[in-house]
């Protein structure tokens, strides 16, 4: 389904959706026998490990791939910033800066050192959670992120908690009433919801619930001293916005995933045998639909992590997204770099989780032919 249809959501990052991948070399010639005895197969340790524990080997492989990808991303962000034109020192001081002042600020920010040296020291720090100091505020970036990341995750967690069951339920409802009125209504409404920009949904909700009826709070600022329930009521509107934004995507993809299973030959056979609709869904369709649905959920959670950026700006919520947008407007590169890497890390690891869960749920993926 991911391959033939146009993509409406985030996609797996490792190319697992594309069926044309050559199978990994170390898996070629895996015997049909599940647990071959020692000595029956030769080769390296990894080769034997793949034979004996195919699942663990695949998961390890995916983990390694993700870490490698993350490393490549960090290289790309850092290298890209370097390669793109634009000198920060001149941007900072304006056009009329004297060459001496530019030179001083370059030295101050450490820009006079070669790029490789700066990248390596940055990466070394980043692995330990030290992202350097912000150019604008001279605060520690890692400290700021530590505070704000928790806030962002708090928001995303509650959005996921509400949207996932709702999306799966509605998706199943749409399949159950396929091409009848409920399905058509859900289809049109979700199509409209996909087209709404996050900030429009956000302001619409503020307009109605905070300004007109006064039952919600705006802006959604949270403090350290707030109690849990106070926090919950503060994030009610941002969470509602995120749910609305992500729900339509997730539901449509769930519907497509289940329909994909429902239109396969074995379900048709079951229909022709005269089984009841419930039995077909419970016994034949559901076990095969679990993997794609889990995949859909994980991909949308990855999307949620990014959707947080705009929602935080709309609701003036002190999270990672707002931190990053503020930093971009003043060109505070250490902050931008750190936030970019962390967002990418969440995205990559959620995609990896989707991949691994799909492999666990579908035994056929463990022994690729």
């Amino acid at each position: 389904m991911m391959e033939s249809g146009p993509l409406t959501g985030p996609v797996p990052t490792d190319g697992s959706a594309d069926g044309t991948h050559p199978r990994p070399a170390e898996l070629s010639g895996v015997p049909a026998k599940p647990n071959p005895a020692d000595g029956e197969i030769g080769g390296t340790f990894w080769r034997r490990f793949t034979f004996r524990r195919p699942l663990a080997a695949l998961i390890l492989q995916r983990l390694g791939l993700s870490v490698g990808l993350l490393f490549a991303v960090s290289l790309m962000i850092s290298g890209g910033i370097e390669a793109l034109p634009g000198d920060f020192a001149t941007t900072y001081l304006g056009q009329s800066a004297t060459p001496q002042a530019v030179e001083n600020i370059r030295k101050d920010l450490g820009l006079d050192k070669p790029w490789t040296e700066r990248y390596l020291s940055w990466l070394g720090g980043a692995v330990q959670g030290d992202f350097g100091t912000s150019w604008a505020s001279k605060n520690s970036v890692g400290e700021q992120i530590g505070k704000r990341l928790g806030n962002s995750l708090f928001l995303a967690f509650f959005a996921a908690l509400i949207s996932v069951p709702l999306a799966v339920g509605l998706g199943m409802l749409a399949v159950q009433f396929r091409n009848r009125l409920p399905d058509k209504i859900i289809n049109v409404v979700s199509l409209a919801a996909i087209s709404l920009p996050e900030f429009f949904v956000g302001y619409l909700l503020i307009m109605f619930f905070a300004v007109k009826y006064g039952i919600a709070t705006f802006p959604a600022t949270v403090y350290d001293s707030m109690s849990f329930t106070e926090r919950l009521s503060a994030i009610a509107l941002p969470v509602a916005t995120l749910v609305l934004v992500v729900l339509a995507h997730m539901m449509r993809m769930t519907r497509a995933a289940i329909l994909n299973v429902m239109s396969s030959a074995y379900v048709e056979t079951a229909e022709l045998k005269g089984l009841s609709a419930f039995r077909i869904i419970a016994k034949h369709a559901a076990p095969n639909a679990v993997a794609p649905v889990i995949n859909v959920i994980a991909l949308n959670l990855a999307y949620l992590v990014v959707g947080v950026v705009v929602v935080e700006v709309v609701f003036v919520y002190p999270g990672m997204g707002q931190y990053m947008v503020d930093a971009v407007t003043v060109r505070d590169m250490p902050v931008v770099q750190a936030c970019g890497l962390i967002f990418a890390a969440f995205y990559i690891f959620l995609n990896m989780a989707a991949d691994i869960l799909a492999i666990i749920a579908n035994p056929r993926l463990r022994h690729p032919r």
Partner: protein, 275 residues
């Protein structure tokens, strides 16, 4: 294909797109006031001289909306066309040439897609100077990764067909095979994809403008207008919601047409076609 076979929802979509394009093309004729003229008090309510009221600086909201259609549609369309040209050229090349070229393009594409689009755009726009063509280029390059993925999948399906093999045996070059054999046979699914990417571009541009990184003031564009007027929301002034609604309406209209195109494509392919 006859006109009767087009469903009602697609007609609504076509009408909406036509209206927006009409506004964009004839903006100076339709708009009652100039794009940047301060004509009255700030945040006047709708009605009277100003059909939709005025904005945070006292400019006529309707005129800004009409001019904004021009900027928004032009930038989104330019970015989409560019991303399609780039993505399709690279993906078809990858599918036809295969081997190392294919691997190199595909793996690099995977790497690009490993970073969320918005985050990538934020990082890149933080470095680059703010010009319109840079914005279009950044949007196009980021979007072309998605086009590449679809284009390669579709082209691979076609590239193994007998008529492509026949063309190869005739001794045609890669360019002939890409433009004369594969492109005409992949046009239908790619057209639907084009609409989808266009809708996405509108939303993406609006989001960037809303964050203050897209089109710079005083040019009118829908996302930027929401940003300009967002402070009014707390006082119950709905000026920010009007451009927001315009973005949403245009995106919905494009999606309605795409939905129909996609159904048509899948029914052409045969099969149970409801997935």
């Amino acid at each position: 294909m006859n006109l009767r076979s087009i469903p009602f929802s697609a007609w609504v979509g076509i009408a909406g797109i036509a209206l927006a394009i009409f506004c964009a093309v004839f903006a100076p004729v339709i708009a009652p006031f100039g794009e940047r003229d301060v004509v009255g008090d700030i945040w006047l309510p709708a009605g009277g001289d100003f059909l939709l009221g005025t904005d945070n600086l006292g400019r006529d909201l309707l005129s800004r909306l009409v001019y904004g259609a021009r900027t928004t549609i032009f930038v989104a369309l330019a970015a989409t066309v560019l991303s399609f040209s780039l993505g399709m050229l690279l993906s078809f090349t990858a599918a036809v040439v295969g081997g190392f070229t294919d691997q190199f393009f595909s793996r690099f594409n995977d790497l690009m897609m490993a970073i969320p689009t918005l985050i990538f755009a934020l990082v890149v726009l933080a470095v680059l100077p703010q010009h319109l063509w840079i914005l279009i280029l950044v949007m196009a390059v980021l979007d072309s990764t998605r086009v590449f993925r679809i284009g390669r999948a579709v082209a691979l399906d076609v590239a193994v067909m007998e008529f492509v093999e026949a063309a190869r045996l005739r001794g045609e070059g890669s360019l002939w095979i890409i433009f004369r054999e594969i492109l005409p046979n992949t046009l239908s699914p790619l057209l639907a994809e084009f609409g989808l990417r266009f809708a996405f571009s509108i939303l993406f541009l609006s989001t960037l403008s809303f964050l203050g990184l897209g089109i710079q003031p005083p040019s009118a564009d829908w996302g930027g207008m929401v940003k300009d007027n967002k402070d009014g929301i707390i006082f119950g002034i709905s000026a920010a919601l009007i451009p927001g609604a315009a973005i949403a309406t245009l995106a919905i209209c494009v999606n309605l047409v795409v939905d129909w195109l996609m159904k048509r494509t899948s029914s052409l392919k045969g099969g149970r076609g409801d997935a």
